[in-house]
Amino acid sequence: MLLQDALDAAFASPLISPRAKALMFGVIARTLECRFCENDMIERLAQLGVSNAAVHASLASLSDPELDPAEAPLLAWARDTVRYQTLDIQKRTHALLDQIGPERTLEAVGVAGLANATVRLAMLLE
């Protein structure tokens, strides 16, 4: 319930679009090889009007032509949050900060943290 509230709040927050957030979840699910979570995100994206083919293309290329340019680096960065070394992720997050600004970066960190936690929990329950 608490997790659902956190997820709903994360998706409701306005700085990053729901499409970008769902794709970030999808990228993290794919990196961790959680098929259940990836399919769940594909369903969520379908509700947002994104076709199955478009989702797969975005996940395969870590890019999405429909995203706002300021959201474009988020998918590649989301992948980097799954397995990292501290110095390396700090550098990559600083680079993200330069590209998308502090507010969006803060929200991205929250979304990535939540996605990592959720997908890992789901894998335990699978």
Partner: protein, 264 residues
């Protein structure tokens, strides 16, 4: 009676104080010992890090699970300098080593930035792996993006060499994907995390084809089919390769369209 009680209490207090001081001293010694061991471990990791990628060192000092021998689908990259041996024959050895180390530094940085790991330096060549330590669904595009970053890094490095009146370097890169056996290999004194199998041999052969095709970065069909449309490729005629029954089709990598992550 009161004096005796006070004396007993004083003795008890002194005893307790002695025990407390001794415990503190022992605690201090243990703290120093832990700090010393932590410092030695950190130093060991730093030194060891010169011989193996830092994440490999971290795995070794943590869990050995991922280092266990196994079969994995991996993208293998071979990079080799062209005509470097000829340069070695006429240049100063110290200069050669400096040039080569600078080159390896640039190439490693480009590979690591794209989630690859350099596992071996072989003369003036290197072997890099993508997806060897953990699963990586983007390993093919990582390897090709790394190759393009290496191309750009070499161009920058050549400018530095030219400024010192040193000859420019040229490389050939071969990339192939397939199943390999991964693990820590070597003897008691020298061990490295690496891979063996036909995929490795094919990547090496493809690298050699760069001279014949006059292209610096070549990939196989197995890599091409994993790439998305951003990558600009040019198909080359099939060529017979040692150890392969069928001629090998390769593709020259010409570039990539601008993308979200900023790779070029």
């Amino acid at each position: 009676m009161t004096t005796a009680l006070l004396l007993a209490l004083a003795l008890l207090a002194a005893g307790l104080a002695f025990l407390l001081l001794r415990a503190r001293a022992r605690n201090g010694r243990l703290e120093r010992l832990v700090a010393d061991r932590a410092e030695r471990l950190e130093r060991l990791e730093t030194e060891f890090g010169r011989f193996a990628p830092s994440d490999v060192v971290e795995q070794l000092t943590g869990t050995m699970e991922l280092m266990a021998p196994g079969r994995r689908r991996v993208t293998v990259m071979f990079a080799d300098l062209i005509e470097f041996t000829r340069l070695c024959e006429r240049a100063d050895p110290a200069q050669i080593v400096t040039v080569l180390n600078g080159y390896f530094e640039c190439m490693t940085r480009a590979i690591v930035a794209h989630h690859g790991r350099v596992t071996q330096f072989i003369g003036d060549g290197l072997l890099a792996l993508f997806g060897a330590l953990e699963s990586n669904p983007w390993q093919a595009q990582d390897a090709v993006s790394a190759a393009l970053a290496m191309r750009a890094a070499l161009a920058d490095y050549n400018l530095q060499l030219a400024a010192q009146q040193l000859p420019e370097l040229r490389f050939g890169i071969g990339i192939h994907q397939g199943e390999v056996i991964v693990g820590l290999m070597g003897n008691q004194n020298l061990t490295t995390f690496t891979v063996v199998g036909d995929t490795v041999n094919t990547a090496a052969r493809v690298e050699q084809l760069t001279r014949m095709h006059g292209a610096d970065v070549l990939i196989t069909e197995a890599v091409r089919e994993k790439l998305d449309s951003r990558f600009k490729l040019r198909e080359l005629p099939p060529v017979p390769v040692k150890g392969k029954e069928q001629p090998v089709v390769t593709y020259a990598v010409e570039g990539v369209a601008a993308q979200a992550s900023g790779d070029e």
